[in-house]
């Protein structure tokens, strides 16, 4: 007898549980979708978002802490001590610069976006931008150059580069013992928008202001967030020019 009851119970359970499931899917068929139509609508990145690295070279004192903090050695940095009577000026926060910065390159292909370098930066000149559209068809061009000073004639860049850049991690940097691999082919560097002043906070606010920007949790738009402790103070409520979109250059 139990065989027959379980036979019909199987049928009953089969039919009812299918109907339960169909009720759930029907419920969502009627409720609105959560899709963000990506290229047309863009998410507003959070203030702490870890996007493409950017260095404001004029504020960089060349201390090299970022280079030491990087687990994957994606920085290439060449510095030279300034002469006694040379005045290199001040950074934005008033620190006197004492080193010439001839090269400050970030190999984005190696970057693991861990944020360790920006946390140690004393002048907050190295920061992670809100730029996240970093896919491209070729590997070239992702070797970002930030230095604005030219080395004086007679300065051996090649030698300084090899001397000053410690190879800490042979696994991730196995091929780097070959000095040629540090030479960047001419024209491959991908400069960021007007490298000197890249105000990502403003561009982010422009995204907020732009129509169709869909915020997280289906809110219309997030209120400008208070300043975080690890990032420089953004210029609050700066009128965002419409052309401040960072994407696509």
């Amino acid at each position: 007898m139990s065989g027959i009851t379980s036979y019909f119970r199987n049928i009953y359970e089969g039919v009812t549980t299918v109907l339960y499931g169909m009720r759930v899917t029907m419920k969502y068929l009627k409720s609105p979708a959560i899709t963000l139509q990506y290229p047309m609508e863009k998410m507003v990145m959070f203030e702490r978002f870890r996007g493409l690295l950017h260095n404001r070279a004029e504020d960089c004192i060349g201390c090299g802490q970022c280079v030491r903090a990087c687990p994957v050695d994606c920085f290439t940095m060449v510095i030279q001590k300034a002469g006694k009577d040379e005045d290199l000026g001040l950074t934005r926060d008033g620190t006197a610069k004492k080193l010439h910065l001839y090269q400050f390159d970030i190999d984005t292909l190696k970057c693991m976006w861990c944020n360790l370098c920006t946390e140690v930066c004393p002048t907050e000149c190295l920061l992670m931008t809100g730029e996240y559209e970093v896919s491209s068809y070729q590997r070239d061009g992702w070797h970002l150059r930030f230095a604005i000073e030219e080395p004086p004639p007679g300065f051996d860049m090649e030698e300084a580069r090899l001397k000053q850049n410690r190879i800490t991690n042979p696994v991730t940097y196995a091929g780097a013992a070959d000095p040629k691999s540090l030479v960047i082919p001419e024209g491959s560097a991908r400069p960021l928008s007007g490298a000197a002043e890249f105000d990502w906070m403003a561009s982010r606010q422009a995204q907020v202001a732009a129509k169709g920007a869909k915020a997280h949790e289906a809110k219309p738009a997030p209120e400008p967030k208070p300043v975080s402790e690890s990032k420089p103070a953004p210029p609050e409520s700066k009128p965002a020019p419409p052309e401040a979109e960072p994407a696509g250059e």
Partner: protein, 157 residues
């Protein structure tokens, strides 16, 4: 039971096979002569007061001057932990010790990994092959004197 008592029992049971007991370190453990790891493991597993049915971790290590294998055990019934280790010579071909797969099947993949990465040979392992690296890989990468290959099958790294 705390590690001191367990080590004491091991000493009375196996005598000289327990070469040293270190209790004032972060991870109290007993040092075992390599030849005895399997029989001590069997005792630890089957003694009803110890009942170490579970091998948490088996690790091979290269200290630079010697190799080592660490066995971390715990018991689900008595809720205690114990660790015993064996030191091995770095001489070529000398890093051999009995396998504990027969004691804890969990050791199977752990021993293969230790063989693969540190180059310790576990005698009596049913299937001691490389596990993480390709079968034709040369050398054992977690050795301190490991040379990074410049190429693999003609592919520059």
């Amino acid at each position: 039971m705390d590690p001191a008592h367990i080590a004491e029992r091991l000493k009375t049971k196996f005598g000289d096979a327990v070469t040293e007991v270190r209790l004032d370190v972060p991870d109290p453990h007993a040092m075992i002569a390599p030849a005895h790891v399997a029989e001590i493991g069997l005792y630890l597993r089957d003694d009803p007061d110890l009942d170490f049915k579970s091998l948490m971790c088996l690790s091979g290590v290269d200290y630079g001057d010697r190799l080592g294998v660490a066995y971390h055990l715990h018991s689900l019934t008595h809720r205690h932990r114990f660790c015993y280790k064996a030191d091995l010579s770095r001489e070529p071909g000398a890093a051999r010790l009995p396998s504990v797969v027969g004691v804890w099947p969990a050791a199977d993949w752990h021993e293969r990994e230790a063989y693969d990465l540190v180059g310790i040979v576990f005698e009596g392992h049913p299937d001691l092959r490389r596990i993480l690296l390709p079968d034709d890989w040369e050398g054992h990468p977690l050795r301190k004197d490991y040379q990074f290959p410049r190429e693999w099958h003609g592919i520059p790294i």
